[in-house]
């Protein structure tokens, strides 16, 4: 697992869960993989073991992991669950994006124009490489 560069103004256990979900989506973690013990993970990211415990319990509760006695904790999520999470996280980002743009007074059409321009720029940057 990667070093967690957490935002100190948000609940850390939630950020641990998000970090975990992102790794599943990116494919750096796959179904059946063993994840670090709570203690190792806490030490790796320098976070209170009780906080890590809370995150691990939550991961298990929502069905992303399972703990096998004497063997450790494993990724239980299947591909359907992972794509559902991916969809959910993308929706969250979009909700926030549209909310903020609306509050700045952008119309739907203006938003579409901005997005198109950005996408073109990004494409250009990639072909220039």
């Amino acid at each position: 697992m990667s070093q967690l560069d957490y935002d100190k103004s948000k609940a850390i256990y939630k950020q641990i869960i998000e970090d975990f979900q992102k790794q599943l989506i990116r494919g750096t973690l796959n179904p059946g993989d063993k994840i670090p013990s709570q203690r190792d993970y806490a030490l790796k990211v320098s976070v209170n073991p009780n906080t890590v415990q809370r995150a691990y319990q939550e991961l298990e509760r929502i069905g992303l992991t399972e703990t096998i006695r004497g063997q450790g904790t494993f990724v239980k999520a299947n591909t359907e669950m992972i794509s559902a999470i991916r969809q959910e996280m993308a929706d969250d980002i979009l909700d926030r994006f549209f909310g903020e743009m609306n509050s700045l007074g952008y119309s739907q059409q203006q938003i579409t124009e901005i997005l198109n321009r950005r996408l073109m720029e990004m494409k250009g940057a990639i072909t220039n490489d």
Binding site: K8, A11, L43, S46, N48, P49, N50, Q53
Partner: protein, 232 residues
């Protein structure tokens, strides 16, 4: 469980603790935060039995602190070890007094902290001395660890080592760690319960995660906000 019940303590003209009420629940890493002179050290010394309340009372598992000395491992802010001791002599001394001394833990942490037993306590750097103090405190399997400003005046790498030692060593449910500090940023992710104290009173307290969620602020920001309100 450690309880402060309407505890008052005065030193000359200074009201160090002012009807302080609080409960440290077991199995947590607790932060006692506040500016210099807020009453943190006085409260820590009181739990360790080195100080006594003028009014109210402090109880450690229902007993007076002076009857609970073998349950408490106290790391004072000042250098409290004999300068002529080697680390080995200091460890031998502690081993004779505390039944909860754990030699395996001591040996393991000695390596982890890059310390050597032949180091003379009076002749090593401040950071190394801080690590020695930590080693001697956490090598006990004491139910309560009291760390008074364990990070102050110590370089950033040593701070990380100290924090990682605490995380590595913390036994969930069995041990309660109380850390007093005015440098909250370093222990932001380490503590689960926090008490912000100023002029001998609790200003804000609660679970670190709940406070972050409800306020959307880091603990450092919460402290700044709390003390702005106090001063107004």
């Amino acid at each position: 469980m450690i309880e402060f019940d309407h505890v008052g303590k005065r030193f000359g003209n200074v009201q160090a603790l002012d009807h302080l009420n609080l409960q440290f629940s077991p199995g947590k890493i607790i932060g006692l935060f506040g500016p210099n002179g807020a009453g943190k050290s006085t409260a820590m010394k009181m739990i360790a039995g080195l100080n006594q309340p003028d009014s109210g009372h402090v109880l450690v598992d229902g007993q007076k602190p002076r009857q609970s000395r073998d349950k408490i491992a106290f790391l004072p802010e000042i250098d409290y070890l004999y300068g002529w001791w080697t680390l080995k002599q200091a460890a031998d001394f502690m081993r004779s007094f505390y039944a909860d001394w754990d030699d395996n833990k001591y040996t393991e942490l000695l390596g982890f902290l890059n310390l050597r037993e032949d180091m003379k306590i009076g002749k090593i750097s401040k950071g190394q001395r801080a690590k020695c103090k930590l080693l001697l405190t956490v090598s006990r399997r004491a139910p309560y660890l009291l760390l008074d400003e364990p990070l102050s005046g110590i370089d950033i790498l040593t701070r990380e080592e100290i924090i990682n030692t605490l995380i590595r060593d913390f036994r969930e449910g069995e041990q309660t760690i109380i850390i007093s500090t005015h440098e909250i940023n370093d222990v932001e992710s380490l503590v689960d319960e926090v008490f912000f104290i100023d002029q001998g009173r609790i200003v804000v307290s609660g679970s670190a995660e709940e406070l972050r969620m409800t306020k959307g602020l880091s603990l450092v920001e919460i402290m700044k906000e709390a003390f702005r309100n106090v001063q107004q």
